[in-house]
């Protein structure tokens, strides 16, 4: 081999190796730098007090994250409760019942739903969901900008992710397995219940966790429909203030108040850590399943 070719080859190899290493490194850098940035506020107040206090008064140095954490949990829970049954039923239908034509029709539907930007979901939510809630619930005592509105909009946003991943999981079940069930005289529905759903149960859990972590981090749409008041939401019709919305709303002005930047970085760190673990666990489960089914 002439030297020029060899040099090119070795150069390319090292360039690629460095990029691969920096990919792993980047994840660490994000985690570490968020921690370093949020350390001052943790040292000042103690992590437990920050997470359990409800009082949010940045100007007097009180940073209680509980209302934001609770709002995030409420919003994500509503989203998953609405989206999971719809997506599960649709995915089963597409996998076991629908004809090829219907399946081909659904592909772009799911693609487009997942392609619509968060801000458009937000606009849609403020035009339709928010007035709907204001008009039909609590007889006009709420503005409609509420935890409920956030949950509904988020549900629509995670549906395409759920349907896509669930269909993938159902499709990865080997045909031999379902055919064996049919040959024993099981009906389609019995096969769905006893074979497909049972076999893919770990996958369904993993996908649910994955879309839950997507819901945790969703920012713009939630920011636009949740109402953003830093108090504990006592009912689903109260305004809420999820963590990502808190970050998005206050980032510009925080530099003037001491400790504020650090507190907001802590919000980002909390999100990062939760999502790191949720994603990690569900990805590991999904990878494991993939290995088991692809012989």
């Amino acid at each position: 081999m002439n030297t020029q070719r060899a040099i090119k080859e070795i150069g390319a190899r090292w360039f690629m190796r460095i990029i691969a290493f920096s990919g792993i490194l980047f994840l660490l850098i994000i985690g570490i730098s968020l921690f370093v940035k949020s350390y001052p506020v943790i040292r000042e107040n103690g992590l437990w007090k920050l997470l359990s206090s409800v009082s949010w008064k940045p100007s007097s140095g009180e940073f209680g994250f509980l209302p934001f954490i609770v709002s995030t949990l409420y919003v994500s829970a509503i989203a998953i409760i609405i989206a999971l049954p719809l997506s599960l039923l649709t995915a089963i239908y597409l996998n076991s019942y629908a004809s090829g034509r219907i399946r081909r029709f659904f592909e772009p539907v799911i693609d487009l739903l997942s392609g619509i930007p968060p801000v458009i979901y937000g606009v849609w939510g403020t035009i339709t969901i928010v007035p709907f809630i204001a008009k039909n619930f609590a007889s006009g005592t709420t503005s409609g900008y509420s935890v409920m509105a956030g949950g509904i909009v988020l549900a629509v946003m995670i549906i395409p992710l759920l349907v896509g991943l669930l269909t993938e999981i159902f499709n990865s079940i080997p045909d031999e397995m379902t055919n064996a069930s049919f040959s024993l005289g099981a009906t389609k529905w019995q096969t769905v219940k006893r074979v497909i759903l049972r076999r893919s149960f770990p996958g369904i859990i993993a996908v649910t966790v994955l879309s839950l972590s997507r819901a945790f981090g969703e920012t713009m749409a939630v920011l636009m429909v949740c109402g953003n008041s830093p108090r504990m939401p006592h009912s689903l019709l109260d305004p809420g203030y999820p963590l990502p919305a808190l970050l998005a709303n206050n980032y510009g002005e925080m530099l003037s108040i001491p400790g504020y930047e650090s507190a907001l970085m802590l919000a980002a760190l909390i999100l990062f850590v939760i999502i790191f673990f949720f994603n990690g666990i569900s990805r590991l489960t999904l990878n494991h399943l993939e290995k088991r089914f692809h012989f």
């Binding site: 090119k8 968020l34 392609g115």
Partner: protein, 279 residues
């Protein structure tokens, strides 16, 4: 009895599927219905004039151009990172290497990191480097967001490719680097599809550029000047109490949706072409 249960569930499933496809129509319908009345040529071809945010004349050309500049830069950066990375994982490392599993896993996690966290991290990074909200900062942060997306879909395309081509190239005595140059031609349509989809994600994301790119009524002049973006312009206009400005937010939303739809259809077109050319 068993039939009955099956039939009931079948009806529920069909209803669920109809609801989901109905939602898409509902969302697109709402945006079109609200956006079309406020849409005009001026929206696309003019910068915001004086008093634009009070309902006077002007358009969102600043945001369209800004979004375009940011996404072009970001896509270029993440191509430079993800193409070599995917080639390395697939053609240099052995099939079941632990290192490639770790790299793929970290990119899977990066894929799940929400855009607001990238935004916050990008902002912290920019303060650290002494930069202010600017086009350059926006490009870097959006590149962070879309690189894992691109890397993952490139990886999927590459893994699907039959190994015969690469094996025969190697057996003819080419180096791996030369082999990749040939294979790239085979992979190109799939990569174009993936890039178009990632472009859509990048253009539509507001949380990453909220603090890193800033906002301005002018066209972006250089990398160190702030740049407006379409999602943020929608967000700011919608927050205005003036009805005309809100209507223009709907028109801007329609413009953004149309852009995303075009990208999505282009991506589908390329991917169907790709499946026809496959060996």
């Amino acid at each position: 009895m068993k039939r009955k249960e099956e039939n009931i569930f079948k009806v529920i499933m069909i209803i669920a599927s109809l609801i989901i496809s109905g939602l898409l129509l509902f969302i697109l319908g709402t945006i079109v219905w609200k956006g079309v009345p406020a849409l005009s040529w001026d929206m696309i071809t003019k910068l915001p004039g004086g008093g634009f945010y009070l309902g006077k004349e002007g358009g969102v050309l600043n945001a369209i151009t800004g979004s375009f500049c940011i996404i072009t830069g970001a896509v270029a950066i993440s191509m430079i990172i993800s193409v070599p990375l995917v080639m390395y994982l697939n053609f240099y490392l052995p099939r079941k290497s632990t290192f490639s599993a770790i790299v793929r896993f970290s990119f899977d996690i990066l894929l799940g990191v929400p855009s607001i966290v990238y935004g916050a991290f990008g902002f912290a990074l920019m303060i650290f480097l002494g930069m202010r909200a600017s086009l350059g900062g926006g490009i870097i942060t959006v590149a962070m967001l879309i690189t894992p997306i691109m890397m993952r879909s490139f990886d999927e395309v590459t893994r699907l490719m039959p190994r015969d081509l690469s094996d025969s190239l190697l057996s003819l005595g080419s180096t791996r680097y030369e082999m990749i140059k040939v294979i790239m031609r085979q992979l190109m349509p799939g990569f174009v599809t993936a890039t178009l989809l990632a472009t859509g994600r990048g253009i539509g994301d507001a949380a990453t550029v909220l603090f890193t790119a800033g906002y301005t009524d002018n066209l972006p002049g250089s990398l160190s000047q702030p740049a407006a973006t379409l999602p943020l312009s929608i967000f700011f206009q919608l927050g205005s109490p003036v009805a005309e400005v809100q209507n223009r937010a709907y028109a801007s939303a329609l413009i953004l949706t149309a852009l995303i739809l075009i990208l999505s259809f282009a991506a589908r077109h390329f991917s169907s072409k790709f499946s026809r050319n496959r060996i």
